[in-house]
Amino acid sequence: MNSPNPNSLKSRFTKGLVKALIRINKNHPRSSSSPSISSSPREIRRRYHKIKTAAYASMACAVGTRRAWSRALLWKIQNQACNGGVVRRSIGSSSHYSMKKIVEQNKINELRKVVPGGEGMDTWSLLEETAHYMKCLTTQVKVMSTIVEIYSPTT
């Protein structure tokens, strides 16, 4: 996904994230009396939480509702704002087929925990969603790294 296609996932994500960063920056103004004084550690921590949420939200929005994991993430983020992060959990139907090795089943369940919405997915869907989620996460990390690189003071 290296094409500069303006409608690409990477494009949509990048624009969304940058807009969110601008919004966050505006809501956390530096001290107006002295711009050289940096924000308090508490401010920085609060901003970090917002940035992290914005990163995942921007990616989920860029993907839209066509993926179960992005729907789950969007739902979680929207509801975190309302009721403090209650996560809906339903046990995935893992008994549709028989796995010979218990060990592999445990690993599938580990995967459920790290993929948004994984708890409610059957194994087939989980594996498909995982592939797509991994690709998007990689893009997310790449873009965020680049932003950090651009704004890091050159030493």
């Binding site: 500069p4 990477k10 494009s11 990048t14 624009k15 940058v18 960063l21 601008i22 966050i24 920056n25 505006k26 956390h28 530096r30 940096s38 920085i44 921590r45 901003r47 970090y48 940035i51 992290k52 990163a55 066509r66 179960a68 549709h96 087929y97 796995m99 010979k100 090795k101 060990v103 592999e104 690993k107 599938i108 580990e110 995967l111 790290v114 059957d122 087939w124 869907s125 594996l127 498909e128 969603e129 995982t130 592939a131 991994m134 690709k135 996460l137 990689t138 997310q140 990390v141 790449k142 873009v143 965020m144 790294s145 680049t146 932003i147 950090v148 651009i150 704004y151 890091s152 003071p153």
Partner: protein, 93 residues
């Protein structure tokens, strides 16, 4: 990017066999950086699943770390406008 399924909440008509599940797991291997080099050597579905889990967790940690650094950088960076040049630079990487 078109999804091959119309609805991901639709249940499969037939139960996927162990082999079909295994096929799907094996498809994850090219996406994993650590296992990529050993593409010719047989890699078990089990280790692919394990590697996938740790890779995703690693990516989550990287997002955490990058968010923290961004938070500190925003102090002095002053991203105030959607700079088209910035977007273009970001997309070039």
């Amino acid at each position: 990017m078109s999804s091959r399924r119309s609805s991901s909440s639709s249940s499969r008509a037939s139960k996927p066999s162990d082999d079909e599940i295994k096929e799907l797991v094996l498809k994850l291997q090219p996406l994993l950086p650590q296992l990529h080099h050993s593409r010719n050597a047989p890699v078990s579905a089990s280790s692919i699943l394990e590697e996938t889990c740790s890779y995703i967790k690693r990516l989550h940690r990287e997002v955490e770390d990058l968010s923290k650094r961004l938070s500190q950088l925003l102090d002095s960076a002053g991203i105030t406008d959607v700079d088209e040049e910035l977007i273009r630079t970001l997309l070039r990487h």
